[in-house]
Amino acid sequence: MAMTTEGTAMADTNATGWEPRILAFLCNWCSYAGADLAGTSRMQYPPNVRIIRLPCSGRVNPIFIVEALRQGADGVLVSGCHPGDCHYLAGNYYARRRFALLQRYLEYLGIEKGRVQFSWVSASEGARFAEIVTRVTEDVRRLGPARRLNINAVARRGEVGTP
């Protein structure tokens, strides 16, 4: 899960050239295959998403999501198999409980609604994957560059409390 600062250096925040940078954690069996299908079917979706493949959405430790924001992701998408379809039978059910709490918690701490999103995409849903990436990208674009929890945006001391 080492995202190097070089590899994901903050997108240009000068209003003109800024493009949201979204990190997507996809499960190997459904959502990654869905993304693959979208690609092989030549479907268009915004190129703002960077994909990390994991065995299961249940493998997504909440620390990954917070770390992604810390390292400069403007948005995070986590996607797994539909409930009931998990390759490991129940991984996404466990994940769902974790994410339900995490999403509310991050919003409570002041992370804007829409920065961190969750979806279920099956291996046959290439079109749905393209739709979801489009939607998340638009949501994040509307929110603008992520500054909260972002190590690059608040690297200087004495800025606590400044959004």
């Binding site: 620390i63 509310r104 918690y105 701490l109 929890l149 606590v160």
Partner: protein
């Protein structure tokens, strides 16, 4: 300070002599005014040192995971007992190994609050003493319980331990459950907008100096290697820069999701007065809201993040 009653000292000495326990964790008079200190009794003759009064603020359950597999006696207040239940649920302690002295607790004294009221430093509360009703007498002034106890204790309606072998004193009348709590401090933050919530979060963190007292005082923070201490990967740097404080606090508190029993040990332990309950209580509230679960109430229940239901809330998923 009030020594334990004769019969109770006798009981504890008996456990030690009979080998039912090898260690009893309780409180003794402390060096700092209005603060008892934890004591570890291994010799039956030392039970004389044990006390109980409203200065016994520590949640001693934080020591239990260090004695995994050992037979240990311990003194618990109502909130501490819920932490014992949490450890039982997570298999960190075995009930048969424990001898629990339960204390129906009317609240413990907040020395900082008392000192602030008198306009002196905590160390200068030399002549302060607790009264039978939980108030404090200091500097010739009587401070009623309502102004001397921790805020958490004043709001507490569950004074009685829910797991114990013997009881010190009589059970107190009490309300019920987390469902009955109003969580007004959490609701107040929820009502703010993003910017204000972020400011509120950082306003608390601005005082944090990353001493890890919250983690060390927490009965459920028992990982052998905390993520904060890991060097591979090293998740964040050991600095008081806002980005490091944010990362530590977000992750540590989230590790208590569905597990925090709301004993307030972290908040009482914080030397900087960071109100960690603002964050942990949000998790307790949501856990109850989403999964109808309350930590520390049922030793046979699965913690909510270790189980699932096909009917769990799904409306937040795209």
């Amino acid at each position: 300070m009030t020594p334990l009653p004769e019969t109770l000292r006798h009981t504890i000495a008996g456990w030690l002599e009979a080998g039912e326990i090898e260690l009893f964790i309780g409180y003794e008079a402390g060096a700092v005014p209005l603060r008892a200190t934890p004591v570890f009794i291994r010799d039956a003759a030392d039970v004389e040192r044990l006390i109980w009064d409203a200065t016994c603020e520590n949640n001693l359950v934080a020591f239990l995971p260090k004695y995994r597999g050992k037979k240990v006696g311990i003194m618990v207040k109502g909130c501490d007992a819920r932490a014992v239940v949490g450890l039982l649920q997570e298999g960190q302690v075995i009930r048969e190994n424990l001898r629990i002295v339960g204390v129906p607790c009317g609240g413990v004294v907040d020395a900082r609050k008392v000192a602030a009221r008198l306009g002196v430093a905590v160390e200068d509360l030399d002549d302060a003493a607790v009264t039978a009703d939980g108030g404090v007498e200091a500097g010739g002034e009587g401070i009623p319980a309502g102004e001397a106890l921790f805020d958490l204790c004043l709001a507490c309606d569950r004074h009685n331990p829910n797991v114990y072998d013997v009881l010190l004193g009589d059970l107190l009348p009490e309300g019920g459950s987390a469902a009955a709590e109003d969580f007004a401090h959490v609701r107040a933050i929820e009502a703010l907008d993003d910017d204000e919530r972020w400011a509120a979060f950082n306003a608390e963190l601005a005082r944090c100096n990353l001493c890890y007292a919250c983690r060390n005082a927490c009965p459920l923070c028992y990982c052998n290697t905390c993520f904060a201490d890991r060097t591979m990967p090293r998740w964040f740097n050991q600095t008081v820069g806002p980005e490091d404080l944010q990362f530590y606090q977000v992750i540590r508190t989230f590790h208590l999701a569905g597990r925090c029993v709301g004993c307030g040990a972290c908040t009482r332990a914080c030397p900087q007065g960071v109100n960690l309950r603002l964050f942990l209580d949000k998790l307790r509230l949501d856990t109850h809201d989403l999964f109808g679960y309350e930590a520390g109430t049922d030793a046979a229940a699965h913690p909510p993040l270790t189980t699932y239901s096909p009917d769990d809330p799904d409306d937040f998923v795209l």
